[in-house]
Symmetry: D2
Subunit: 250 residues, 4 copies
């Protein structure tokens, strides 16, 4: 599976690292705004040994058409900005390239564009693309259906300077129809990120806990998404859509 990556910030680099270490994906190129790292080898820059080094290009070197002609890929992973897809989206969809985007928020028009592109190719958009968090959210929803009489509480812990309530915790509270105001936020030192959902039964307690080890634990999720989409039909997907079949026990 040939992969191209838009965006090379902290998250983009983390994803590149996981892709380079995977046997199932081959990272062909990285596109970034700045020209600073232009034409450097991705594995060399990240200190990872690799036989076929993809290079870093700046976004103004090619039109999407030139890029996909010269360096064809099966999957695009987008950790850049909400604007990027406006330039490469149409061309990628036309060629049937799978698009996986983890941009936090898109304007309404861009969401509409994503859905339009999804008529021609597979498009997955998931602002939180980690497997652990998505699994936790789905498992919690199931347990709530099994035991609707339990009390559910959400605790999220993050580093001192995180001002706002965790977006992931808000998503969990929405998934469980709990008031966002009930989330307990702990801010202490350098905690990377910890989410805990507590189910209180009369005589037992179930705790589902997710701990981030590094702020950019997206790599596994991206790889999972890309590998899963390959076998899917055209259409618009979320991480939850991809995980559902795993929950359909027999």
């Amino acid at each position: 599976m040939k992969v191209g990556l838009f965006g090379f910030g902290k998250a983009g680099r983390a994803v590149a690292t996981v892709l380079l270490q995977s046997k199932e994906a081959y990272l062909c190129w990285v596109i970034r705004k700045s020209k600073v790292l232009q034409h450097r080898s991705v594995p060399e820059f990240l200190g990872i040994e690799h036989d076929e080094p993809g290079l870093i290009y700046s976004k103004d070197e090619f039109t999407p058409e030139q890029l996909f002609d010269k360096y064809p890929v099966d999957v695009i992973i987008d950790f850049s900005s909400a604007e990027a897809i406006l330039s490469y989206g149409e061309e990628a969809a036309k060629r049937g390239i799978t698009i996986v985007t983890a941009i936090s928020a898109y304007p309404t028009e861009t969401v509409a564009l994503l859905k339009k592109l999804a008529r021609k190719t597979r498009v997955l958009w998931s602002p939180n693309i980690t497997i652990g968090i998505n699994f936790l959210m789905m498992a919690a929803k199931i347990l709530k259906t099994i035991a609707p009489y339990t009390d559910i509480e959400i605790i999220e812990e993050h580093f001192k300077n995180k001002k706002e309530v965790s977006g992931t915790a808000i998503k969990i509270s929405e998934a469980l129809s709990l008031p966002e105001t009930d989330i307990k936020s702990v801010r202490a030192g350098g905690i990377v990120g910890r989410h805990e959902v507590i189910f209180g039964f009369p005589y037992q307690t179930v705790r589902l806990i997710h701990e981030s080890i590094q702020r950019e634990a997206f790599g596994d999720g991206v790889l999972f998404a890309a590998l899963n989409l390959v076998h899917k039909k055209k259409g618009f997907y979320t991480m939850e859509n991809l995980l559902i079949p795993y929950f359909n026990l027999k």
Copy 2:
């Protein structure tokens, strides 16, 4: 739903307490070996207010036929001994009474009997009938399928005098195809029971934790099983069978 209970040890009493507090079940009677509490009211003995008190009978007061004639029930819950079903099983099955048994272990012949009875009625056998543990085991199996590359570890904590490895932890290890010898057993003070399954991803950790508050947290599970079976066809069931539909997300 009219319920009859065999067995009134610690677990039986806990189940009776949950049934008495439920609006969906009505506990008609309790059968026990000893004559000590004969004809006492169950709610009064347990200190729970209740309008229609079921009584405690000793097992030699009636034949199963007399019992079911005089005090008909929809569901039998069995927390007594592996022998009890030998006496009441056939008669209950003939009448289509649902049987929920939580006996730890049955001899092979009795398991065969259970399956024979299941041709005539709904029979559920689950040595560990708590919702939390069964949920945890199923959720863990799913996460292993989603992320087969994770390292999975099981820690169980119990009170000092528990000599053997937790049977529940062994079940979890079997469900996850992990060697039983890998279970980490903590024995300390009066810990009632705690099971933790850890999934180690490269950059994140997922922990599924079940904590027992009282050693007999069976009541919720029994009530869940009884209420769910009502709508099912004849046949042999486990807690897992009843929970599967909740996992079938769409």
Copy 3:
């Protein structure tokens, strides 16, 4: 060490259980308001085997003078009510009987009385007399002094119906000079009681956790207090006073 116990509610019974199981204390009698259990044997009532059974008396059977004459003790443990000490205090202090009281709150005049009695005997008053909580509070204070730059957060978890913020959590927040409003309160199912103090360092986190297994975990603390006071001078003590010497490492 001969012990007399005032109060035989949930907490009193828990303390009696620990005393009966200890080799160092001998529970001579229990005094309670009600006459219901009058003259029953304490170990028999609690289902504990014991050679020298102390009996349950009702408080109107004796004057303190008669009681201490007939059944002399070294230590009085008071889990009854804020009024009890008004009747037995003077007589006990005169005889040099150690007084250990765990009453939640005393009116100002009674606190003054306690201090007056402390001129004649050893008086310990600690509304929260569990070893674990007192240790946790002192250890937390020390860590704050060692690392004043850490962020400290307190989470307390209790059963659903506990309306108010945990008094123990408030004490911990006071000990650490943290605003009471910062305490995160989780209310879920049947959780007996869990207090966690989190110290956030830039690159590490320290968590001090206390979990109650039964709502009345006072026994160990009472026994610890009684055994420790024996070797102390007359005076007024708290649990913290008794624990300090253990912290004075060399």
Copy 4:
């Protein structure tokens, strides 16, 4: 406080980062074996803004005498190798420079040298110099003395590829006189490091937990050690020695 640092591997860089961010210490220079980074500015290399940049020198550029003449310091921090002190030790001690070394293991002769140097200056050696772990170890020892009847269990969790039992966990077990073989070792994914000491009381549980966020959480401890030693007499110290006064409550 002027500081010089020997060693610039992962741990050395982490320590340099904390020193550069501190207002109480000024990092004058770093000495390393290799010439690769020779004469580069430490803050610039680490991406930290700083007014007075110390430089990186290679160890063969100066004799200790030349180094301390040209760039005098109050404290030396040694994260290099067991041999380094053989060259700089005598000269530093002669000048009364405080020495803080975190080398994992020294040959017996070098330990003897450390103690000899300690006759002339303050020497602190602590293979594990994190505040959290040292605090946890001391607090655990205290709780064991308070409640010798508790069951104590140690769980340590680390990344998959850590083969051996955690050295820190072994130290904790030694401090508590527990058999090293009882330590429960969890190996899963990318867990940086987690140590938990569980105290099991009959009706309560105390858990002391240390979580490392980055493998090199030494900086705080080093800074704490250096700042504390300044006011001490000549002599040989460990982290425990420096922490003891904080435990001496009044």
